[in-house]
Symmetry: C2
Subunit: 498 residues, 2 copies
Amino acid sequence: MSGRHGPAEALEALRAHQRQTEALAQIAGRLSWDQETVMPRGAAEQRSEEMAAIEAVLHARRADPRIGEWLEAIGDEGLDARTRAELRLVRRAHARATRVPERLAAEIARVTSVAQGVWADARRDEDVGAFLPTLAEVVRLKRDEAAALAGEGSLYDALLDDYEPGIDQEWLSALFGRMRPRLVALRERVLEAAASVPLPKGTFPPEAQTELARACATAFGYDWTRGRLDFSVHPFSSGSGDDVRITTRIAADDPFNCIYSTIHETGHACYEQGIDRAYRLTPLGRGVSMGVHESQSRIYENQMGRGRGFTGWLFDEMRGRFGDFGISDRDVFYRAVNRVATGYIRTEADEVHYNLHVLLRFDLERDLIEGRLDVADLETAWNERFERDFGRKVDRPSNGVLQDVHWSVGLFGYFPTYTLGNVYAGCLWKALRAEVADVDDALAAGDPSPATAWLREKVQRHGALLEPVDLVTQATGSVPGEGPLLDYLEEKFLDLYG
Amino acid sequence: MSGRHGPAEALEALRAHQRQTEALAQIAGRLSWDQETVMPRGAAEQRSEEMAAIEAVLHARRADPRIGEWLEAIGDEGLDARTRAELRLVRRAHARATRVPERLAAEIARVTSVAQGVWADARRDEDVGAFLPTLAEVVRLKRDEAAALAGEGSLYDALLDDYEPGIDQEWLSALFGRMRPRLVALRERVLEAAASVPLPKGTFPPEAQTELARACATAFGYDWTRGRLDFSVHPFSSGSGDDVRITTRIAADDPFNCIYSTIHETGHACYEQGIDRAYRLTPLGRGVSMGVHESQSRIYENQMGRGRGFTGWLFDEMRGRFGDFGISDRDVFYRAVNRVATGYIRTEADEVHYNLHVLLRFDLERDLIEGRLDVADLETAWNERFERDFGRKVDRPSNGVLQDVHWSVGLFGYFPTYTLGNVYAGCLWKALRAEVADVDDALAAGDPSPATAWLREKVQRHGALLEPVDLVTQATGSVPGEGPLLDYLEEKFLDLYG
């Protein structure tokens, strides 16, 4: 036998290596789940060492020089689409793992783990100045990382590529540029009428909220034999393949918090659960990008969960479970679910405001990474932009520049995927309504399955086989753009509050 | 810089490597916890791949050839006791990982994972014949493994060494040989009088049982900030350092099941929680052997938990929580907790019978591994021995040779550590009662802390610093033997039922 592998042998070796890596990545994900749901609080310090150990193993496996040798031995002749996609994903992960010097990666891990605590303290104390030196350090390190990754390309694109491959800031910037004026205009047209919408009043016992959340997840097709529901401070979905868990949270006076968090996470989870089982524990066996992931969670939560049909069913469910909660009929309930109000906080924003929060962050973080904005000027830039788009002044840093954890932990390039998810959701919703006849009737009966079956077929089952934009293009027949989302928002909210 | 490490540099490199290995081993343990408590049932197949992946990583790390080079570079000059102990443990794990050929290890993993299912089916069907070919295969593979490990030594000792380092079958055999006649005689003297003991009657709501279990764990010193209580089919304790979790189970009509399972697992967990924090994520940072581990769980459960003092406190607790449950006073309650009855099942056995179950298994498994007993003759050998020691015939295989999972998964050499744990517990109990004045009064007030403080100081805090027999010898002032345990059993049960 020669020292060099034949193509078939190399492919087999690469796949065996990769399968173990995928399994270990699932374990790392489960550890995070454990940390956020059940871990004893005294275990935090030890856990951070455990996480670092498995991340180090994962990094070493992705950077393994044999991957380069295998890829070379495999070549690119006569490969089927699936294999080509697998190799593309392995090659990308390998490149990312090898381009960033180990010392820089370790430094980023060290600094961001400390930075999160500094940020949390600064937010608590409403003290931007206390966070800025640390943020400057994080920005500097992320710029170094981006430079190592970027080669000839732009710094911000190199970071963006980690969350949304195949997208660049130029395209995003044009897309967001078209969205912003329409969103600002829509906001101004609906605000006044939306102000008088009532909120649910009453007692909403945690057990009953949990039962309703479970009923919603079940309605949206969550497979309980391959998942479970728990509680955490920030709801999330976690895991791929046969173990995809979701969490929610309970606010005693606001049942919508639990319900819509659950439906949102159910969207993420159904995406993972809906991937072709043949892809399990391969690079294809998980959602392809943050944007496409968010498209599923948002279309479940908003287009379906906050639509007129489903909220009718939900109103009856709530009356049955909670009795009278101060909302008299389905029409008022539909408005209550779709209340529009200008708030400071992105995560609490309604559909009209949400993307304006994201667009603001995108522009600022791009300027930080590209060196056009100094962290010293960040708060001013934030506050000016906020006042321009939202028509009010930021009252304190925790309601402004200090509200999100992302930058402290080095997540630059992540924010735009939230809006991209909404844009994709808009495109998918338009296409599925054109193709599936009984969507509205079924939703009104509490049955999203005609819609979710279409999403599973067109999007979910493919896992990471196609690049994000190709996937949405194939599913909808058109290259994704802002039109369908904005048409949907204008139609819905002008009908409600126009 | 030369290619070879200096001793200090090599020690540092070895420790860094080992620390990551320990962290990964903790992760593997947490995965098992997850599997037994919260994992969705549909995730089983994927989980087995995840477990295999992390076990492969652990094996590769333990077998890493650099460990041999580091150990050589470190040498054995001028090392302190702690470092010597660390290196001894690393060397042993490295030797075990490298001596067994990878193909054999993989074959054992494959066969035992299937064998467990074959055993479960055979037990359900009461069909020994259906299990024997698989058992023969497991025995053959374990003999091969033992031969690879043993070098010049005996096969059984090589397997035993994995669970109880420093012990050999000759010593064990002599110890157990002295125990057997005294246990058989004690059994015969107490059986008749013990037959008339009443059992608790009534309703024992799961929530109240759980609360009482929590109260017991708290009383015995379990640190809830570094652990948690869940439910599983078979109770267990899991993890080391700052994340040591326990499980229990609820039988609606038998509150003792939950209470004593919990106290038992609390003993295991307090051992791990009691280890010097400086040893965390090092080879010293976990219980030194299965035998010493079992000594802690059994002394918590039996010498303390089933003693006259603590059962008095427990009786009052139960009356307060469950009302009248058919037992009128503390004396009768003490007898109810210490009922003696001949049963078939080891895990349900009382203190008088328990070790006779173990001695039977020790003799049979030793003969299987040493080639003196064929699996075809195993059932007959089991049934003859059972009738001789227990005075009754085995009525069906699930009550006899098919009752335990151990052999199906390759756990040969594990059974004797149960009795060894009881023997150590006997020695420790004698010594601590001689040294600590107020043990009984405190236990009668529901406070085991004087006793547990002694155990923490003498045993638990040392982790794996000393070999098991050395640890017990240092703690008690004598080489461990059967005397104290048998004296304790005879005194307790002849007092009760003599």
